[in-house]
Amino acid sequence: MGGNFAIQTRDLTRRFGELVAVDHLSFEVESGEIFGVLGHNGAGKTTTVRMLNGVLGASEGSARVLGLDPAADGVSLRRQTGVLTETPSIEERLTARDNLSLYAALYDVPPGQVAGRVEELLTTFDLVDRADEKAGGFSKGMKQRLALARALVHHPQVLFLDEPTAGLDPVLARAVHDLIIQHSQREGHTVFLCTHNLVEAQRLCHRVAVLGRGRLLALGSLQELGRQWVTTLKTTLEVEPERSAEAVKWLSARGVEVADHTVPGRLTIQGVGRDDTPALVRSLADQGIPIFAVIPQEPTLEDVYFALQGEMEVAA
């Protein structure tokens, strides 16, 4: 394994007794990439994060993170990674400032820089006003922000995020998204994002891996996944408004699903194969119905995810 990859795994496997939590996982994450990992609960996302940080050993296979073997060089590796766990894991009997200062020390931030870094994070995450209050009294969203601030306290090269916007309101969720993008783009750091939030993954991730029962079901950019997994296209046709009803009738007679024709002259068809769409449009035009525009809608991550449902059920 080598190249300019922040993370590489080859046949990474973890068993707990009979249960195979992660099953021969092989993938690469480039430096500076925002890499999304999707999957149901129990798909193996958290176990993978644990193995990649050298917190849990692999039963089989290997991994390199920042060129280091997590199993052998866990301590050195964890100096360069930050993890936001699924539960915020905040020390509730300590203040927000104490929580951050503690982890700054544990992540070896130079003592002279701790106070400044803590202040900077409190400001970034809008926690300054409550900095000296015990975190136990914080709302779920504040705890999540504090946990995220803690994961960033040492400017990690690779940031592992498990549901980073869970419990946050849309404004804060947007702020967190911006931070993640900044972490990747401006600082060139890598983000490994585990999420159930498909919109979040679509907005942030360069590439996405979909896991099912520990197995890698799909991997690629949204475009690649769409091509591979969503074989039918959703297309909007703009036709002469007066001929709209005629067009709907003609399409329906050929078994084409017209998902939306509420706006006269604007029809959305779905379920037609990508390769069959040009011929269908040509036939419709041959009926003498003027077609002003054909707008194919690229599949969303949601389309891909649901197209993969069958695979996930097979994996289960």
């Binding site: 707990f16 644990r50 940080n53 050298g54 917190v55 849990l56 050993g57 866990g74 301590v75 050195s76 590796l77 964890r78 100096r79 990674t81 993890v83 766990t85 539960t87 894991s89 905040i90 020390e91 509730e92 009997r93 300590l94 104490d98 503690l102 982890y103 020390a105 544990l106 992540y107 070896d108 003592p111 946990a147 803690r150």
Partner: protein, 272 residues
């Protein structure tokens, strides 16, 4: 060893412990009752003896089977003085060992099992702190306060015992060599016993209360020493105290050896 990380974790653990009533309350009440109230009660021995119909047994009858050393140590005192010295210097000696065991157990239960219960362990395991550093930090955060509290408890107890005994005996009875050896040699080993037991127990339970209740069994050997001393079966002289310390240290080594093997990141995270 990463000294900064170890000190940070110790500081954190103690700060967290200090804010838990379930931890702080027994740490204040038990020593106050055992080492302030009980010795102060010894001041009432003469009054009790003089009460009409008092049936306080003669101490030499009570301790008829005791080792000769104890009888020798109590010779030269009258009956009331004997009672006071026996209670304050000899009976309380093994009881005093409850203090380091209890302090270490309570803090260790909060530090090891409590951390799991509060779900704060996972974030700690993702830090670049090695397993050994984490283990050392967590054991020291229980062991050092246990020893400090014991030392402070000894000073307070000596003051109360001397104040109580002064009117009865007319001289200072503590500190003596036996107690000094006990505080310096045996008490830290007793703290290690409480701590080591709690490390093992905590690896199998999920909450502070479970750990505290299961780990409470560790005071049993100390209770046996108290009963042995109270019934005169044994006599806490320097030799016996040194031997008790040696046995406890040996048990500590075994417990900590097992503890290090159980305190592994992958084992801990798999339990979360």
């Amino acid at each position: 060893m990463n000294r900064r990380a170890i000190l940070s974790i110790i500081r954190k653990d103690l700060k967290v412990v200090a804010q838990s009533k379930a931890v702080v309350l027994p740490l204040i009440l038990v020593p106050a009752i055992l080492f302030v109230v009980l010795p102060a009660l010894a001041a009432f021995i003469p009054s009790l003896a003089k009460l009409p119909g008092s049936n306080m047994p003669r101490l030499d009858v009570l301790l008829s089977g005791a080792p000769p050393g104890l009888a020798a140590a109590l010779s030269g005192y009258n009956e009331t003085q004997k009672y006071a010295v026996w209670m304050l210097v000899y009976l309380m000696a093994p009881m005093f060992l409850i203090l380091p065991v209890m302090v270490a157990s309570v803090i260790a239960a909060d530090s090891f099992a409590g951390e799991k219960e509060r779900k704060t362990l996972e974030a700690l395991l993702y830090t670049p702190t090695s397993d050994v550093d984490l283990f050392v930090a967590k054991t020291l955060s229980a062991w050092v306060p246990a020893w400090l509290v014991t030392g402070l408890g000894f000073v307070v107890y000596s003051l109360v015992a001397d104040l109580t005994a002064w009117n009865l005996v007319g001289k200072l009875i503590l500190p003596n060599l036996t107690w000094t050896v006990m505080v310096i040699w045996v008490a830290p080993a007793a703290a290690g016993l409480g701590l080591g037991t709690m490390v093992l127990v905590s690896s199998r339970v999920r909450t502070f209360q479970e750990a505290y209740q299961l780990g409470g069994i560790v005071v049993l050997p100390i209770v046996l020493l108290v009963v042995g001393q109270a019934t005169g079966v044994m006599y806490f002289d320097v030799g016996l105290v040194a031997l008790v310390g040696l046995v406890l240290w040996a048990i500590d080594v075994a417990l900590l050896w097992l503890g290090v093997r159980l305190f592994r990141r992958d084992e801990l995270i798999a339990q979360l």
